[in-house]
């Protein structure tokens, strides 16, 4: 029982450290990244053949923010989830690229 109480206390403290500030900051970064990618395309800033890598990097950063900050993938004890997601992404890339290049 004492262990139970301990675990609850640690949960509480770790939660207090998290707070909404981190989430709002991540949200602002996401909005900024989205705005940048829309700006790049709408004003033809980057040459046509160079734009895809730029857009993909901006999208990838956003997805990492979603997964790790909004979906708490980096939390303690979430190694299984990460394995599932990496396996999913791996099969997804192979299938998606396979269909695209078929």
């Amino acid at each position: 029982m004492s262990q139970n109480t301990n675990q609850n206390t640690t949960n509480t403290t770790s939660h207090k450290q998290e707070g909404a500030g981190k989430h709002i900051l991540a949200f602002i970064v996401m909005i900024a990244l989205t705005a940048v990618s829309f700006y790049l395309v709408m004003n033809n800033v980057v040459p046509k053949n160079m734009i895809l890598p730029f857009l993909l990097i901006l999208a990838a950063v956003q997805v990492f923010l979603q997964l790790f900050i909004f979906m708490h993938l980096n939390q303690k004890g979430s190694s299984y989830y990460t394995v599932f997601m990496i396996a999913g992404i791996l099969i997804a890339v192979i299938s998606g690229a396979g269909i695209m290049l078929m």
């Binding site: 829309f38 857009l55 997804a92």
Partner: protein, 207 residues
């Protein structure tokens, strides 16, 4: 730890409620497996779209069709709803049910706004002669964006259902994992949308 808690108990201490019971932990793990599978589903639809997007059969092309202002607004709605969803989970873990219900309500409204924009967009495209059966581009476009829209629709219904259930039962150890999963699902929908606005709309506008 799990054996001390009854599913209908109301939590008294803040913390990560969704993982307080073994059932909750298993639900979260199972849901990540499901999200891994969903990733593969959407990757296949993306692959199909990217392979067929130039096969317009004389119909409107991606450059003529897409309106980035509308897409930008829809993106803003969905991104913001992702934030309100995470704020709802923060409120849940602080045991503040009223705040949680408020943020879930905002999430649903933003989701509905996104959906209305998407329906408006589709109706507009059909008038322009871009339909599911008009070309390979049309089929792959509606299959991809439509599947995402169907996910948004399901997510909205799911969250409304959970809001009603929470209002009737209160926040219990059984409710917390359900609410958390709906939030994970909602973030995943947003992740998919990031790729849709990048690979479909922005890349389509570039050509």
């Amino acid at each position: 730890m799990a054996s001390h808690i009854h599913p209908t108990d109301r939590p008294t201490k803040p913390g990560h409620l969704e993982k307080a019971t073994l059932e909750g932990k298993n639900k979260v793990m199972g849901f990540w497996l499901f999200l891994g599978a969903e990733t593969v589903l959407f990757a296949c639809l993306f692959g199909t779209y990217l392979a067929l997007r130039n096969s317009t059969m004389g119909g409107p092309t991606t450059q003529e069709l897409y309106d980035l202002k509308l897409v930008g607004l829809a993106t803003f709605f969905l991104l913001t709803s992702s934030l309100t969803s995470v704020l709802a989970m923060n409120a849940m873990n602080r045991l503040n049910v009223r705040a949680m219900q408020f943020w879930l309500g905002v999430t649903v409204l933003l989701g509905l706004a996104f959906l209305i924009l998407e329906i408006y967009e589709f109706v507009h495209y059909v008038h322009e002669g871009h339909t599911f059966t008009s070309s390979a581009f049309g089929s792959s476009f509606y299959a991809l964006v439509g599947t995402h829209g169907a996910h948004v629709t399901f997510g909205i219904c799911w969250i409304i259902g959970l809001m009603i259930q929470t209002a009737r039962r209160g926040l219990t150890y059984e409710m917390a994992p359900k609410l958390f999963l709906s939030s994970l699902y909602w973030h995943f929908i947003d992740v998919v949308w990031v790729f849709i606005f990048t690979l479909v709309y922005l890349l389509g506008k570039v050509g």
